[in-house]
């Protein structure tokens, strides 16, 4: 018991483990572990042949964290800011540092608005969103949907029922919101 100085249980001996586990103890000495010491000053080890990298063009409109002095010399160009979600995200970047909860919560709000905007935009494109194929739910049929979910004591069974609601929720809410907006506009027009 830990109430005395000795370890309260016995683990197998090194010889026993060496016989059973391939490579047991190969990195027993911390000096053999690649990330020991954690910080090791060796600027020549990386293959970089610059002190400060040449700067990637196009950073003029690029959003950045307030905690950066400038846009980093290299950056991703995956999806530029656009629409209402872009305005929310730009506000989050320009107003709040990473230390503020508002920064991250606004970005998450921007994500939700982006998803709604993009769904709406898809309906005026040649390829509208398809909630069936895009969720991959069609794979259920061929990949053991019953045996994967039952007889395994899965803890996530308690919340799997929520997933369809989260996916379908915005789709179900959209017509309700549309009818409400229409009613409001009619009332305004009538008055």
């Amino acid at each position: 018991m830990p109430y005395t100085a000795e370890r309260p249980y016995q683990n197998p001996s090194p010889d026993e483990l060496r016989a059973r586990i391939p490579g047991w103890g190969a990195d027993l000495d911390p000096r053999d572990r690649p990330s020991v010491p954690r910080e090791k000053y060796d600027p020549g080890a990386t293959g970089a042949h610059w002190d400060f990298p040449e700067r990637q063009p196009g950073d003029e409109s690029r959003e950045r964290s307030l905690e950066h002095k400038f846009v980093t010399p290299v950056f991703g160009t995956s999806v530029p800011l656009k629409g209402a979600s872009g305005a929310i995200r730009r506000f989050a970047y320009e107003r709040f540092s990473e230390g503020r909860a508002a920064h991250w919560l606004l970005l998450i709000l921007g994500d939700r608005v982006d998803a709604w905007e993009s769904h709406a935009r898809s309906f005026v494109s040649t390829r509208p969103d398809n909630p069936v194929t895009e969720t991959g739910v069609l794979s259920e049929a061929g990949h053991h949907p019953i045996s994967s979910r039952f007889g395994q004591k899965r803890s996530d069974l308690s919340h799997i029922w929520m997933d369809p609601l989260i996916v379908a929720g915005p789709w179900l809410a959209a017509p309700v919101i549309a009818v409400g907006v229409r009613a409001l506009l009619r009332r305004r027009h009538a008055s």
Binding site: R7, N11, L17, A48, E63, H119, S139, H144, K153
Partner: protein
């Protein structure tokens, strides 16, 4: 080219996109020959990582062939077969100069709290990822490495994240000979962390999960003792009893933001996105480790605050160590372990999915259908 594209939480599809172009003199364009879906991609897929924009291509585990190089690239040429670490990094900033490649300061304008990662939202720099036919690889002289002739593609792709991250997690545990190590999560990273703990001299390795097929893999692949936490009212108490009421010397959180086991934490994190992830595995790690022990955190969490039991961590005198893995630093030693037969990363691969069926692949992986542990993506299978 064809690429996976995010359309909002739980929704993705394959679209035609422009082939990426050289945007910086040290860029390379790589034709992807094999990719993978990572457990942490599910955080993006479920809408948990801030600033994940519709239209983004995910994928930070990939290998390929160099298609084009920028004018300042010296170490790679067209036709080279390369493995690319999931970290985007410059090799010359304050952090890279000290070996902290995953904390590079020159590649992610969107945040200072995290470095650059391929296909991992604008919070990680806004780079498109490798679940596509081509990908832009910045700092081509620094990140990629030629795949050795003797190495299988499936081993190589697992060396771009899952395997080195698990190995790194065992290092962060600072394991001493004979230590008892408990690993929370029997996904790919947890399996590699458990396996690597033996290399570092652990005396006992215990893996905790709730899926029996993953625990079976932990027993056969990682030689671990296992606990299915759904079989116990209180898994922490069980672990305490099983270690003579002491607790483990080292606890590794290899579950991260998606952890199951507490409905309240799951709803507030995974469903309502009010936390940077469900910290149940991290809290179990803090509770299950002995006083004065070490907690290694490999599980990925978002930057929003999480309800972590820090008071217990302080009162128990714990050392908590964490980071994204500086992948390339691990490669030489991992190459040796693979050549010596101590590790065979591809043993955990369960599914091989053509890129055009990637929406189904994400659903299978996310819903844990069909005994899925590690799905690979074949971008040119058609």
């Amino acid at each position: 080219m064809q690429a996976m594209v995010y359309r909002g939480p739980y929704k993705i599809r394959v679209e035609e996109k422009d082939i990426p172009k050289i945007e910086h003199p040290n860029d390379a364009i790589v034709r992807v020959t094999l990719g993978a879906i990572c457990g942490s991609d599910l955080h993006l897929y479920h809408g948990m990582m801030p600033d994940t924009r519709v239209g983004t291509t995910f994928g930070h585990e990939f290998i390929g062939v160099v298609e084009e190089v920028g004018p300042s690239v010296q170490n790679l040429k067209k036709g080279d077969r390369v493995m690319v670490p999931f970290n985007v990094y410059c090799g010359s900033c304050y952090f890279c100069a000290r070996g902290l490649y995953s904390n590079c300061h020159n590649v992610n304008p969107n945040a200072t709290a995290v470095g650059g990662i391929y296909g991992y939202s604008h919070t990680c720099g806004g780079y498109d990822g490798g679940q596509s036919q081509f990908v832009r690889v910045p700092f081509a002289d620094v990140g990629p490495t030629l795949i050795p002739d003797w190495m299988d593609d499936e081993d190589a792709v697992l060396l771009t994240d899952a395997c080195p991250t698990g190995y790194f997690g065992a290092q962060l545990g600072d394991i001493s000979e004979g230590d008892t190590v408990v690993v929370f999560g029997a996904g790919p990273v947890g399996l590699f962390a458990a396996k690597s703990s033996w290399l570092m001299g652990a005396g006992r390795v215990i893996v905790v999960d709730h899926l029996e097929y993953r625990l079976e893999k932990a027993r056969t692949f990682a030689h671990a003792e296992t606990y299915n936490f759904t079989e116990y009212d209180d898994i922490v108490l069980q672990l305490k009893k099983d270690t003579g009421y002491l607790g483990a010397d080292v606890a590794i959180d290899a579950a991260g933001a998606e952890a199951d086991g507490n409905l309240f934490q799951h709803i507030t994190a995974a469903k309502l996105k009010l936390q940077g992830g469900s910290p149940i595995a991290l809290n179990w790690a803090i509770d299950a480790v002995r006083k004065g022990g070490t907690v290694s955190v490999l599980g990925a969490y978002g930057p929003v605050f999480s309800a972590v039991k820090f008071g217990d961590a302080m009162n128990k005198g714990l050392t908590i160590r964490s980071n994204q893995c500086p992948v390339k630093r691990q490669w030489p030693r991992l190459f040796e372990h693979i050549r010596n037969g101590y590790l065979k990363p591809s043993e955990i691969v369960t599914h091989r999915i053509p890129l055009e069926h990637i929406a189904e692949g994400y659903h299978i992986f996310s819903a844990k259908l069909d005994g899925c542990i590690k799905p690979l993506i074949l971008p040119n299978a058609a």
